[in-house]
Amino acid sequence: MLQLLALHLVLALAAPTVFRYVGRRAFAILALAPASVVAYAVSITDQVRSGTAVTQAYSWMPDLGVDLTFRIDTLSWIMLFIVGGIGALVLIYCSGYFSAKATGSGRFGAVFVAFAGAMAGLVTAENTIVMFVFWELTTVFSYLLIGHYSDRKPSRRAAMQAIVITTAGGLAMLVGLIILGESVPGGYELATLLAAAPQSTAVNVALVCLLVGAASKSALVPLHFWLPAAMAAPTPVSSYLHAAAMVKAGVYLVARFAPTYGGELIWQILVLTLGLATFLLGGYRALRQHDLKLVLAYGTVSQLGMLIVLVGTGTKSAALAGVAMLCAHAMFKAALFLTTGAVDVIAGTRDLRRLSGVGRRVPSLAWAGGLATASMIGLPVTAGYVAKEAALEAFAHDGVPGAATWVGPLVFTVLVIGSAMTAAYGIRFWWGAFATKKSTPSAVVADSDEDLACIDPATIRRPSWLLSLPPLALAIAGVVLGFFPGWFESLVQPHAAQYSIGHEGHLTLWAGISPALIGTVIALTAGFGLFLARNHVERFQLRIGGKVEADYLYRRMMRKLDDVAADVTALTQRGSLPLYVGVIFSTFVIAAGIAVVMSPWPDRVRLWDSPAQIIPVAIICIAVILAVRSRRRLKAVLLAGFGGYAVAALFVLHGAPDLALTQVLVETITLVVLVLVLRKLPPYFSDRPLLRSRWSRLAIAIAAGVVMMGLALVASGARIHLPVSHQIADLIYEYGGGRNIVNVILVDTRAWDTMGEISVLLVAATGIASLVFLRRRTSNLERVGDLGGEATSQVWATETVTDRGAALRRRAEAAITKADPQRPTWLRAGRTLAPQRRSLVFEVVTRLVFHPIVLFAAFLLFSGHNNPGGGFAAGLIVGIALTIRYLAGGRYELAEALPVQPGLLLGLGLVLSVGTGVAGLITEGAMLQSTIWHFDLPIFGDVKMVSSWFFDVGVFLVVVGLVLDVLHSLGAEIDKQGEVQP
């Protein structure tokens, strides 16, 4: 089986290529795939008819109970003939149907073959989930096929409707299958499941779910409307998918489960009401359609309802009739669709009011249509006739098991009424398609903007045999089958035998004067009467036809859905950052607040370790409140900086000089960066559009703060274990080789974290650069030498509008004499500054302190392992030194101070740090493991060297690189962009 499916797949994939070379004849090649299915079915005939099912199994996902198992019993075998045989015929028909110039035939052929494969898989799958896989695949392929004429809006809409409706049902069915699958071990295998036949409320729910799936696929009321809409597809698709194969999937599903569950009350209620209602509604609607395809579509809906009733009722006799009807229907309905397609091609219309003279001109088609219609309406000596007789007989004889006695006769009556309508629309169809009519339109429809004049029979072209032979073959087969009812019965009987209730039915041509025969006669007579009164029927339907149709409801629903979606999204997705942050903090307050309340409050709360702590805390509080209230950006930044320094003071009071040092340095650099950024921003925050919500925001903020305090209190009160750090102090020296616990933790114990954090620094640096430079990584370094000896005095020459100090400085401007370019200056790039920007004192101080600062940084770097310091602090200090040079001498001075690209420092620093770690991995067996060397140096004596020092150097380089990068981009580059070009 898997090989057959693979063949379909291969042909589908190859289809576009094949079409490119052989044109539309390629359809015939594609027909090989479904034909091979028939061949396979023939080859296993003996085995299946002897009562042993053909099985195959391949492992797929055993953990989910999903394996590729196939099992072919009588029902599957019959379905294979239908799927393969009609598939092959329709494909051959396609090569005549599509014009040679049509585009997209390759795509169409590919999807069609893929569909045929999925259908074959569906009817043979033994694993319920695998069956569902194929079930959904047919849905998706049918979506693509319905939308074949994708530039037509009705096609697109019909395709979407079909996939949404059938998938909705499909998903319900999936839940049903899962419930059943989980109810017994191995429940995903049909045979196991049906043998175990679990019973419970959940199983009843599952059965309803299954029926919903079947109803959606087989177009039962109230989900039937997608099928008529799907007539937008090319006619071969309608014929195969929407008559013979796909819509039978629901019937197939019901036929699979009915032998076991046909007696369940909920099952019977659903099957009978849905089936019979569909049977009647479809027939009724078919009576007033003018498009031949729509007549057939509603006819199909109607017949599917009957099929569901027959195979679903649960008696042997009904099931026998049902399967026989299934075969008959596949043949006659496919034939009718193919005939319609041919008529459409040769006459150019499918409107039964306009068609005229087709039968006289193309008798072969008229015969095909006529025979198929005969089978459909159940004229004697056709397959349709024997099946319908058996159906009426079944209900006349067995009724509905377990139900009240009036149910059987009621069903019988409904079947007769429905059959009458079938006969009526059947005759109307044949008459409409083939009869020769007078040119006056049937005069019912008032809106005359349609062209309803009959076509001229002379314009009808002769169809190629490709168009007429396949329907004729199917129609004749349908009649011939009726001639051999005994043989027919022996084919389908094994499936009916699986049902446990009722007596065995029979397929016969003549069973004497029975209720069934009387019913048939009544139906045919009434049907003919309805046909004669067709204009009255149409007019009647138009008059009472309400707006409330399922299709209309569906569209209303979908529009409503779109509206609701838009409304809900507009509500949750405001695009407002304050709102999002507010929601997050509110969630925080509620969730964490509940947890805090549930926690035990510490018995005794110590407010401070030393009263001195109050001062920095007070400073922090005041600074933060003022910062939030400030309207001037610079003020806010400075106040936040105050807060930061106060935190450093707290660290000092806690006895953590390392942390304090780092905090101070970080705060300083941050301030510098922010001030550099603020140059490009308006001095004041924007007006407050959020004024109205400020109280709620304030409330959230205060609540969040309170919860945070609560967290801190309860958390420290909850500790019952010793912290891991209590063991660390000794190990730091013994194992880490240093006395500075902070530094050893940073570069050794938790060096991995540090490694991560310096990569964050690196990214931050590149990120700033990317925003400022946008296209290039950096500008080239511009050094004083590049200026070619000319003293350009333009750095910072322009005043920004916001610079309030400018007025003051301008007064002093006159006093500054133009500098002599030859005279040595304190700073090398001093001359590049605009004269009014220079400050002699600053230049001198910078000249004096720069090198000592760098030296100090080097000291910190080397001594960090044992004393306060380390690579991070050292890097920041170098950074501050560079900042001073920049502020004193402008961007040329910066380039003179450290003439390398920041990217190089950042990159090398990261490589060095990580490389040290890797060296540890290679030599010591663990990433970042450090080695300690002792050696004697002439002056320093015994020197202890720890490999993690190299790691620290890497950190140092990255930090220097970061500061340099910030100065380059936020400083120098912004200066440059702001300068007036001379």
């Binding site: 959904e136 530039d151 989980e182 859905l561 997705q573 950052l577 509940i594």
Partner: protein, 501 residues
């Protein structure tokens, strides 16, 4: 424990970091940058695959710097981590090739190449670090690395739109970091340790209220990253503006890191108080509200961002079930979702190129104009909508099975919610297909052929998406074994802390 394979444990972070440093230092030589970047990610895939095999016979642990847990940092690669590492490395490689292809096609005019590669590699390092961290603070560092890199990538090019979106993204991410950091502080204050295995031992012993506080803080922090309702609104506002490959990798990986973190902490640390019902309700809200958002969109990038949010709900559902099957379903769904969302966003990049826009009302006719593109979109879109036999269906199947097995009223509601979400996802993507690929184009399509250098990596992703169906058996088996490991935290604890302590 396999000593040899344990050596590989730090490599998924080390390789990209070293390469990032090199590529940054080599800013003058874009050719070498590209070569190194591709080689590094290819190597990560190899390392990931090796770890995948090795971790199947027991978790791999490395104590960094030789400091034994709980003092130093432990890196742990168990099955879940290995799986995540491998999948993310592969996805990162494909996306890198795609953006490389874009560079080649555009003559490197679009992105500032020189910083793109180092930043991208650091993002890779951050993602990997989050997956192998055996230490809560290190997990935080992993988050920081990937977030910092993502800030840069999101604002590449610095257009007004990207800066605005970036502002939302950065601020929300910072808030989540602050909450995470608070959680860390509370954790250490309450337990005196931050090693995950050690925490797993200590948390059940401390006061349940405080433990709950820690759990809530971590869930909040991770929930923001994973975009769980009501913390999800930032995502559809920020992701769609970035360049296509960046959105692709964000959509594929970043939210999943959050989901991974939830999965890890929920199974390892909070085995007794799971907050499962709460998580289920949130999962339901995430699914439904997310997918309604998708239905309402007319821009395909935004539409996909909403499906991204919505389907996070599936994974949370699996986690909240806290059964073996639920966890396995969630693991499988994560893998599926990483691949499929990434592929779709890459395809959207191609759509934008071919159709000139991502607005569905203006797109059209792509199925005829570019059948290859149609296939590239259709298959992952169907997979996203959970159409069998594609991976989206298989993951959903596992989750539904787990939900049905659980058999509680709330899980039945979740099962129904999952079904509705699945249907609406289908509706949304079919609507997108109908418009972008079928309707007549409203504007003249550019006559440009899609560059092969971009189509090829997308094709690689598509093959992987399809391949997931064929190897679903072994993959699902692996996911189930990963779930077994997750459901039995004692194994993790013993692996990290040794038999004693």
């Amino acid at each position: 424990m396999n000593i040899d394979a344990a050596y590989l444990v730090p490599l998924p972070v080390v390789i990209p970091l070293v390469t990032a440093g090199l590529t940054l230092a080599l800013w003058r030589v874009p050719k070498l940058q590209r070569l190194f970047a591709v080689a590094a990610l290819a190597l990560m895939v190899v390392v990931g695959a090796t770890l995948l095999v090795a971790a199947d016979s027991g978790a791999l642990v490395m104590h960094l710097g030789g400091w034994d847990a709980p003092l130093g940092i432990s890196l742990v690669v168990d099955r879940l981590s290995a799986l995540m590492l491998t999948v993310s490395a592969f996805v990162l490689l494909c996306v890198l090739l795609y953006s490389l292809g874009q560079d080649i096609a555009d003559g490197a005019a679009e992105a500032p190449v020189t910083i793109y590669y180092p930043t991208y590699l650091i993002l890779a390092a951050g993602v990997s670090n989050a997956f192998i961290a055996g230490d809560l603070f290190n997990l935080y560092v992993g988050f920081e690395i990937l977030l910092a890199a993502s800030y840069v990538l999101l604002t590449l090019g610095g257009t007004g739109e990207r800066i605005r979106a970036g502002a939302i993204y950065v601020v929300v991410a910072l808030v989540s970091s602050v909450i995470f950091l608070t959680g860390l502080a509370v954790t250490y204050a309450a337990t005196g340790t931050i090693n995950l295995a050690h925490l797993a031992q200590r948390l059940p012993e401390i006061d349940p209220g405080v433990s709950l506080a820690i759990q809530v803080l971590l869930l909040l922090a991770f929930g923001i990253k994973a975009a769980i309702f009501p913390l999800s609104a930032w995502l559809p506002d920020s992701y769609p503006t970035a360049p296509a490959p960046v959105t692709a990798v964000f959509a594929g990986l970043l939210t999943k890191v959050g989901v991974y973190a939830i999965m890890r902490t929920q199974t390892l640390l909070f085995t007794e108080t799971r907050l499962d019902n709460l998580l289920m309700i949130l999962a339901l809200a995430t699914m439904i509200l997310g997918i309604l958002g998708a239905v309402a969109q007319s821009d395909i990038k935004r539409l996909l961002s909403f499906t991204l949010v919505s389907h996070i709900g599936y994974m949370v559902f699996g986690i909240a079930l806290s059964t073996r099957t639920g966890m396995a379903g969630a693991v499988f769904y994560i893998i599926h979702h990483i691949m499929v969302q990434t592929t779709l966003f890459l395809v959207v990049g191609l759509i934008e190129r071919r159709g000139g826009t991502t607005n569905l009302d203006r797109l059209g006719g792509l199925a005829k104009a570019s059948p290859g593109l149609a296939i590239l979109f259709f298959i992952p879109a169907m997979s996203l909508a959970g159409i069998p036999p594609l991976s989206g269906f298989l993951g959903k199947l596992g989750l539904l099975q787990a939900g049905v097995q659980f058999d509680e009223p709330l899980t039945w509601v979740l099962v129904a919610g999952a079904i509705v979400t699945s249907l609406l996802t289908l509706y949304a993507v079919v609507k997108a297909w109908n418009k972008a690929f079928w309707q007549a184009p409203t504007i003249e399509l550019p006559q440009e052929r899609l560059p092969r250098t971009m189509v090829f990596p997308t094709g690689m992703m598509l093959v992987a998406v399809l391949g997931l169906t064929f190897v679903a058996g072994p993959v699902y088996g692996y996911a189930t074994r990963a779930a077994d490991e997750l459901m039995d935290p004692s194994v993790y604890i013993t692996n990290v802390l040794g038999g004693t302590s």
